[in-house]
Symmetry: C2
């Protein structure tokens, strides 16, 4: 989907829903009180009267639609209310690099403020809903509603922390470790949203995951298979279930392919995470079984 996302032609579409590429629908069906937005962002309700009276517009974004168009002006800042997005950057040769995935509570479009240009795009991976805040209103609203200001500060802080996590994800050298970290990362995020941390429903394609992790998509597929064979994961298309959390966690820790079996001696903390085995040995085990 959305193989169309081409570089924008500098159009600075106003409030109107922009029709980028295919089915880019971004109408605005309704609004919700500020309180809802605050709760979504993790801010305390505060119960201020104004927060109930003031409403923020909602936009609906269909699966595959472009919320942030690369090259466009920074017209709005969004907060995801429901759904999932991928942030992308399209190279000159058309290659679409995935930079991040966003879930409810995440802020989108804020990085465009500094130069009034969307240097990264955002595409909905499923039907989604976002709060829309016009950039030119942002400073004013923040000043007028301290609760919003505080919530936004928190959200941005979280976003920066997440960026660090992304870097950590990609820093692993072994592709299996990268995937393991990604699964754990997504699991933690789902749990934070009140969903099951063990039964995951991946919203993105293998190719998107591969792009984010900086590996070939075939490798992602192979790594999934390896985890399945080892009894760590159960995978059915985009439905993933974590079977052996400890082993998955252990795999996460390996920074590079190594970090071998160290439990034998001088293990630092207490219990060395059960039967620790190196990434390779996992695969090796499954192979030597025959």
């Amino acid at each position: 989907m959305t193989p169309d996302t081409r570089l924008a032609d500098t159009d600075s579409t106003r409030n109107e829903p922009r029709v980028t590429g295919r089915c880019a629908l971004t109408p605005m069906p309704a609004s919700r009180p500020l309180t809802d937005l605050l709760r979504l962002m993790g801010g305390e309700p505060d119960g201020s009267e104004a927060d109930h009276a003031f409403t923020v517009p909602l936009w609906q974004v269909r699966a595959g639609a472009t919320l942030l168009l690369e090259g466009a002006r920074a017209s709005h800042v969004y907060v995801v209310r429901a759904g999932t997005f991928k942030s992308i950057k399209t190279a000159e040769d058309g290659y679409e690099q995935v930079l991040a995935f966003s879930s409810p509570g995440d802020v989108l479009g804020f990085e465009a403020l500094c130069e009034d240009r969307q240097h990264t795009g955002a595409v909905a991976l499923e039907d989604s809903i976002v709060f829309a805040i016009a950039s030119r209103d942002l400073l004013l609203w923040r000043r007028q509603y301290p609760t919003l200001d505080h919530a936004l500060q928190l959200a941005l802080s979280r976003r920066l922390a997440r960026a660090g996590e992304m870097t950590e994800l990609m820093a692993a050298v072994s592709s299996e470790v990268r995937l393991a970290r990604f699964i754990m990362w997504w699991s933690a995020r789902m749990e934070a949203l009140g969903q099951s941390p063990r039964r995951l429903r991946l919203r993105m394609s293998r190719r998107d995951i591969a792009s984010l992790l900086g590996v070939a998509h075939e490798t992602v597929s192979r790594s999934f298979s390896t985890f399945v064979e080892c009894g760590v994961l159960s995978v059915a298309n985009r439905e993933v279930e974590i079977i052996d959390l400890e082993r998955l966690k252990a795999c996460t820790r390996n920074t590079r392919g190594l970090a071998d079996d160290m439990p034998y001696r001088s293990a630092v903390g207490g219990r060395p995470a059960g039967l620790r085995q190196r990434t390779r040995s996992l695969e090796a085990a499954s192979l030597t079984v025959n």
Copy 2:
């Protein structure tokens, strides 16, 4: 310097408990008017009287000293005034993962606000100076000095944009491409600071670069050597000069195996990049020359 920051690195050193912040010196010699801070962050001076009267404390951080200690409370938010920092995250096994490098104008410590815990550390790579803003004063100051508020919004927006650039850096599959992108990234940053974009003085070790890029430090060294042999770079320890900017840029574009073309003599203008060629084109070229 920085003998304290032990790199577990390749060996599975069952490290000793990290001795973070040994010579962590952070005295506070002086203060500077808010105007200075605003200018540093890219905000417009505005010329407000209050901005001149109000002063922000400065801290000095010696090379190798820890500004942000992992696990500590979020006591302050800092803005780099001079010097360079690396942001790190130490794994349980002691491996020190580099997450980012920071230069003057960058905000440090903001990501700790969301949970009142420094999940990432920061170490000075050279003698540095930072503005220090107590976390508990942040909201108040922002409200009291709108220019600061706006400048901070800009700075955070920039920081998020930079995070995306980091991800882009690491997403390349070829280690040479990663290094090329890193050089270009650092060059752009130096230029933004008013320094030469061609003659670079790297503040960090090969190990730190390798950690950030997710490759072995030997590979970084080898890639540097390759670039030197190809006449793209001139390297003397940590002094790097960009000799052939176009070739370096061309190398930067290669996302993964696909899409690139940089015959070392073919015209270099913005090309439609239709030809595809292997990632190793550069090295291959240099090798087949003989």
